[in-house]
């Protein structure tokens, strides 16, 4: 309660008395961020498989495992922020279909169970069978369980793996679009909030998700190659850079269009949103998201389209660009979630938000949720190393 009194003293103008406390904090910033990384990484993987961009082969499995690691965590900050986390099951029992949030449980489960897990399973089944024969002890047992008892690795069975896996990936592409476009709709459908309520929101969320997911795979590929001390496949990295550039342009264009439209129409909410952007969101929107997260990476990646410098220069710049994009997209989520709650729905004033360090909604907890998927990813890479897969 203490901190609410502090905020009460920092209110600018007039806000409705119930608006002093922000309902959604850092955990809800993480939720679309993490879900976006999942969708983006998956779409990158599908480029290789469905759209036959063969040069991306080295990152295909990495992208899938990254998507899985992040998806396993995606729902946790969401559930832990609830007033009653133990009642979360209700969303599966009595989903209220007029609510944009209601089918999240089903979309999540569909994506996890019917898409990601299945695709990875079909991809790895033969290796699981082989590894379960080669390894010993606990690892052997885990591989055995993961095969689900399907140990047939005859050419015919493997052909089915390929065929079914492909079908799943094809289904997975619209599913990934659904997963994240849907997250955007949760915000975009709130007509009470002019900062959120735009038909562009799902599209913007989807594109920024692709941007962040592609950047994450690029980032992970470089880090893992460094750790494994293997040479980075520059053709692959350049290709990822190309796609990142393309999607970043689309994302930037649509987000700009959204803002230009807002400014030009200048509806009732314009004045307060203008004050929001030039005041409370100056750093996070204009500097972090706009300049660092979008313009600088665009310049770097765009420059590579014009003339490709030597590898020594490209690598650190790719690393920088992907890190900046990841940083920028995080603040894009921040600006949507936090920014949308800073101004009063009376359009007459602002409350403020200060991220605490401790507690369930604090910085350390948020950091934990951000580190957890990387830990899960290392576990997955240890268990299912893409580089030890049989060729073929």
């Amino acid at each position: 309660m203490e901190h609410l009194y502090d905020i009460l003293n920092q209110v600018d103008g007039y806000i409705y008395p119930n608006e002093i406390a922000l309902q959604w904090g850092i955990l809800i910033v993480l939720y679309p961020y993490i879900t976006g990384l999942v969708a983006g990484a998956f779409i990158l993987a599908s480029l290789e498989r469905v759209f036959k961009v063969k040069v991306l082969r080295p990152t295909y499995h990495l992208a899938l495992l990254t998507a899985l690691a992040f998806l396993l965590v995606a729902g946790l900050p969401l559930i832990s922020h609830l007033g009653h986390p133990l009642r979360a099951y209700e969303i599966l029992m009595t989903p209220h279909f007029s609510s944009a949030m209601a089918i999240f449980g089903f979309v999540y489960l569909w994506y996890l169970m019917a898409v990601l897990l299945l695709e990875i399973w079909f991809d790895y089944r033969r290796d699981l069978v082989i590894w379960s024969q080669q390894s010993t002890g606990i690892k052997r047992r885990i591989y055995k369980i993961l095969t689900l008892g399907v140990t047939d690795i005859s050419p015919k069975a493997l052909e089915w793996d390929e065929k079914l896996g492909y079908i799943i990936t094809v289904i997975g592409v619209p599913s990934a679009f659904l997963l994240h476009g849907y997250v955007g709709f949760i915000f975009g459908s709130i007509k009470a909030n002019p900062w959120w309520s735009t038909v562009m929101m799902p599209v913007i969320f989807l594109l920024s998700a692709m941007v962040s997911g592609i950047a994450l795979v690029m980032f992970m590929y470089m880090v893992i190659s460094r750790i494994r001390k293997v040479k980075i496949d520059m053709a692959c990295l350049d290709e990822i850079g190309k796609f990142l550039f393309l999607v970043l342009i689309l994302d930037f264009t649509l987000e700009s269009l959204d803002q230009v439209h807002r400014i030009y129409e200048a509806e009732e909410s314009f004045e307060i949103l203008h004050l929001l952007v030039t005041g409370k969101l100056t750093y996070t929107l204009l500097i972090f998201q706009g300049l660092m997260g979008t313009v600088i990476p665009l310049l770097i990646l765009g420059f590579f389209r014009i003339s490709l410098p030597e590898e020594k220069v490209r690598k650190p710049l790719y690393f920088l660009a992907s890190s900046l994009v990841l940083f920028g997209v995080f603040f894009m989520r921040w600006n949507v979630v936090i920014g949308g709650q800073l101004f009063s729905k009376s359009f007459l004033g602002f409350t403020s938000f200060k991220l605490g360090m401790v507690g369930l909604e604090g910085f350390w907890m948020a950091l934990f949720w951000m580190i957890l998927p990387f830990m899960i990813l290392s576990l997955l890479l240890w268990l299912l190393p893409p580089w030890k897969k049989q060729l073929g």
Binding site: L8, H84, P85, R87, E90, T94, I186, S346
Partner: protein, 256 residues
Amino acid sequence: MGDKRMKDSRRNFIKRTAALAGTILATSALKPFSAVIFATGKPEDPSKPWYGIGIDIEKCIGCGMCAKACKLENDISQEPFYFRSWVEQYTIRTDGTIKVESPNGGIDGFTQSVPDEEIYKTFFVPKMCNHCAKSPCTQVCPVGATYESPEGIALVDEKYCMGCSYCVQACPYGCRYLHPETKTADKCTLCYHRITKGLQPACMEVCPTHARIYGDLNDTEGELYKFLKEHNCQILKPHLNTGSKLFYNGLSSEVR
């Protein structure tokens, strides 16, 4: 536009826009136009009560007793962050700037904060749940823990609410909050526990000037029906099409 004739028409203020639109469409030879879609909305069963609220801004003296009584009646935390009902004072200065204030929701009363000579106009606006007929808050509840009762009252099931706060975000009027103890969404119930016993809601019981009434919109003999007929009422944020059933007499355009 024949103000008098309009006044005589039944439930004129709700249907005014609709009637106008209806005339235009009818003359354009389209099929007969249902005015209801522009109106508040209709209850499923017109033989049963369907409640709305009328607040007369002309009468409000800003004593804040309604906001105080609301907290006492409903055992709401006295901390200044949780209000089912509150009062705002709007002051438009002669230089055109607007000052809005609601110190502790008006619970401790108001002291005039702008000197007389700087005031262009000033008035109080009591706020509470609008009990919308097309309520955005109940629409977004993912589990069905908040709902519109058959009497048209938006209620929260505190044993089922999981505290996601989506409804708090969806209410355009700032009428919801997350209860600090139950960790569930909380809001005005129009004193459901009182009106079902034949009592007035607490805020109306204690209003010294009878500036607020509630009543059955289906009851053509009722007090609210009469109030709506005799005054030119307006709802808050009509462009959001929430089907608000809280009707203000004398609402100034500055009010949000």
